[in-house]
């Protein structure tokens, strides 16, 4: 009887273990199935590169939204990567234990704060910051609801991602390597530059890619501060309209306009594909980094 339960459990679990992989496939399948109508109507590339967005007229050019996503992600990365990398280096190589312990919950909390909270905070603090402080500084006019605001909020949201992956990478580098460099008379910083950063280079890139892919898909917080203007942005002080925001904002109307829902599903599918691509790439790199450390 015991053996029977054990075998039954084993067989059930075996089947269940395929579920994660299955889900990914199902998602891709489902989204693109729903996107078929619009793909049948218009060629894929015209949808991607057209700027004409007028759903009621049947025009579904996704280009402004793709650009919006790219702009906001780019701004976020420029700000997040240096800060995260430096913080990770500090935590891994310089910080005394109590600072490291103290910062762990901080990073976990930043990671755990819901998107809406970032959004509310963005509206409260970042939007006025952009419109009243930053824009005038650069001689631009801005309502504050801008790519810059979106990028700033996103940057903070991806700090934990980049920092924690970088920390894992640094941790996998054997201490003896650092010792060797120090024993040759190098300073700590020189050791960081020539040993830690060099050995960890691939892992750091993977961390950045994971941060990028997180920024790509982030919805609520960005939606609340980015302005939602369906045009290709001309400057960081302009409003933008990233893909996730597009999907989120319009699901209500999408059933009432022909092909709208299909277009949005296509957008979601494209988003999924891009994110999958980046994620899988980064994960492969990280697996290799882990393997070489063993």
């Amino acid at each position: 009887m015991r053996l029977f339960k054990d075998t039954l459990a084993r067989k059930t679990m075996f089947v269940l273990a395929f579920i994660p992989g299955l889900i990914v496939l199902l998602m891709l399948f489902g989204l693109f199935l729903k996107a078929r109508p619009i793909l049948a109507d218009k060629p894929f590339f015209s949808l991607l590169f057209s700027s004409a967005w007028a759903p009621s007229r049947g025009e579904f050019g996704l280009f402004p939204f793709i650009m919006g996503t790219l702009w906001v992600t780019f701004v976020a990365l420029i700000m997040a990567v240096p800060v995260s990398l430096l913080a990770a280096i500090y935590l891994s190589e310089y910080a005394p234990r109590f600072i490291r312990e103290f910062t762990k919950p901080v990073i976990d909390l930043l990671a755990g704060l819901p998107s809406v909270i970032y959004g509310v905070w963005g509206v409260l603090l970042i939007v006025p910051f952009v419109s009243q402080l930053l824009a005038p500084l650069f001689g631009a006019q801005s309502s504050g609801y801008s790519i810059l605001a979106g990028g700033l909020v996103l940057a903070i949201m991806i700090f934990p991602t980049i920092i924690s992956v970088c920390l894992e990478v640094f941790f996998s580098i054997p201490y003896e390597m650092r010792e060797t460099s120090l024993s040759l008379g190098a300073t700590k910083w020189e050791t960081v530059r020539h040993v830690v950063l060099k050995k960890g280079r691939q892992g750091i890139i993977a961390a950045v890619v994971l941060g990028l892919s997180r920024a790509f898909g982030e919805t609520m917080a960005v939606l609340m501060v980015v302005g939602n203007i369906p045009r290709v942005p001309k400057s960081v002080f302009d409003g933008g309209y990233p893909l996730p925001a597009l999907i989120a904002n319009n699901y209500g109307e999408m059933m009432s306009v022909p092909l709208y829902d299909s277009a949005l599903m296509l957008a979601a599918g494209v988003l999924l594909l891009v994110i999958l691509f980046f994620n899988i790439l980064a994960r492969f790199v990280l697996i290799r980094v882990e393997r070489s450390a063993e």
């Binding site: 998602m27 989204l31 995260s84 430096l86 500090y90 755990g112 998107s115 909270i117 999907i247 699901y251």
Partner: protein, 292 residues
């Protein structure tokens, strides 16, 4: 052949190190400062508008225009939804994680593949889960409802919970498992009686982390759970959620309602902080049965 240790080069190296030390300090300041700023702002803006009515009443007529009511619908809705989703996710998560840790050979391809899938699923944004959840809803003929929300959020929580659980269960020392097997226990018995007990704090932490995500996530429930001003009464009716309540209240042109949005945000922040603290506390606390 002697190396000249020039004074100049030496000072150069020192300066370089100092510059970067300053930059590192600035970065740490930014990271920690942001958290404090965010939580601080939420509390500072939200607390004044928070009163008992907010958390004990549902929105009455005209709530979004400025009249009375509270967000009890959203609080309860979120609690029900997150609980349901977390439970549903747990039902699938625990067996799968136990399987890849106990029932597979070392370095098994299936385990690798599954772990890889977890990582990949973990990186998928919740808006995509929302869209997918919507498709499933249509497929099953469901309307926007608590059930649809639960299923979708369970999908979101699944990789989060699994990864966190996997981290803990992997750590079970091999000798402990061997001790159980050598007493004649089957793998199932070992899993249920030894592993779960040993990893209980870690498992609970994983559940809590996932739960926290379930409460706070908006993009996945946007399409699927709908919204309502009433308390959740049935699985097949739309349910309000806290994140969406915040979003909608913030979107009105009335300052009083926007104030309430801040208050709601403070409530949500407080919930997340609480869950975080609990999770941390669990990690630190060793129950008496754990073997190191």
């Amino acid at each position: 052949m002697t190396l000249p240790l020039t004074r100049r080069r030496f000072i150069q190296r020192k300066i370089e190190e100092s510059v970067f030390k300053v930059l590192m300090a600035a970065s740490m300041f930014i990271v920690i400062g942001c958290l404090l700023l965010i939580v601080g702002t939420m509390i500072w803006k939200g607390l004044p508008a928070l009163n008992l009515a907010m958390v004990t009443q549902t929105p009455k007529g005209g709530y979004y225009l400025g009249r009375e009511g509270g967000i009890l619908n959203a609080i309860m809705g979120s609690l029900y939804l997150a609980s349901g989703a977390t439970l549903l996710s747990l039902i699938f998560s625990l067996p799968v994680v136990l399987f890849i840790n106990l029932y597979t050979r070392k370095n098994s391809r299936l385990a690798e593949l599954t772990r890889f899938s977890f990582d990949v699923l973990w990186g998928i944004p919740s808006i995509v889960y929302g869209a997918f959840g919507f498709i499933i809803m249509m497929f099953l003929g469901l309307r926007a409802s608590l059930l649809a929300g639960i299923v979708t959020v369970a999908l979101v929580e699944f990789p989060i919970m699994s990864r966190a659980m996997d981290e803990v269960i992997r750590m079970v020392p091999r000798p402990l498992l061997d001790a159980s097997y050598s007493l004649g226990a089957t793998k199932l018995e070992t899993a249920l009686k030894v592993v779960i007990r040993q990893c209980l704090p870690g498992i609970l932490t994983a559940v809590l982390i996932a739960f926290g995500r379930g409460i706070g996530d908006a993009a996945s429930v946007l399409f699927t759970a709908g919204f309502t001003d009433r308390l959740p009464t049935s699985l097949f009716q739309p349910a309000a959620t806290l994140p969406l309540a915040i979003f909608f209240q913030l979107g009105t042109p009335f300052p009083e309602v926007q104030q309430r949005a801040y208050a709601s945000a403070a409530v949500l922040t407080a919930m997340i902080l609480l869950i975080s603290l609990l999770a941390r506390g669990l990690v630190k606390k060793s129950t008496k049965h754990i073997i190191k």
